[in-house]
Amino acid sequence: MNEYKFSDIEIGLEESFEVKIDASKMDKFLDISNDINPLHVDSNYAKKKGFPGRVVYGLLTSSFYSTLVGVHLPGKHCILQGIDIQFSKPVYIDDILKISGKVSYINEAYKQIEVKAVITNQENKKVSKATIKVGVMDE
């Protein structure tokens, strides 16, 4: 886990990591959320609707925005204060996602940073983007 202090952070600082979306993550998210929409749980239904298979929950993939700031940028001293997400492409089981973030603004008075983040798939296509507001606690 990274432990960036507020004084370490500058505009343009970047971090990223990769994750594979396997079926067990879908099962666990279903258990937590109880979102039984057939697009996510029934592959035949998803195929009938024109998708190659079950569509991964958007908020499952977005949970990695939490990981981005809570573990990587800034990491330990993070307090997630707000997030604005836009989805652009579906994600499927076994996709490999890269979650990347870059510091775009620093509020010196209140020790808050904004991270512009994107998630891309194994074909380097953007599947979502987010603006994340993060408080950085004193160490």
């Binding site: 010196e108 008075a109 904004e114």
Partner: protein, 80 residues
């Protein structure tokens, strides 16, 4: 930029942050007058103003502000 133009810009930011298209603020408006003006939305306001007007505030300056009018006056000083 005139004080009126500055004020109108700040009012647009308030409308965006508090999600009220017809919100009207005055010089004497303070956090006591807007129910959702909590600590997080206060940071959101300051951040939006800093970015829109390309100015930066120090914590001490912000702590001394008592209402919107005082914020506008501080912005005028910084934009000189």
């Amino acid at each position: 930029m005139t004080r009126k133009e500055l004020f109108d810009g700040v009012q647009d930011i308030f409308r965006d942050i508090f999600d009220e298209d017809d919100m009207v603020i005055e010089d004497k408006t303070s956090s006591d007058d807007i129910e959702d003006w909590d600590s997080l939305n206060h940071i959101n306001l300051v951040s939006a103003i800093e970015k829109e007007f390309e100015i930066r505030f120090a914590l001490g300056e912000l702590m001394a502000l008592k209402d919107v009018g005082a914020m506008i006056d501080l912005m005028i000083e910084k934009l000189k």
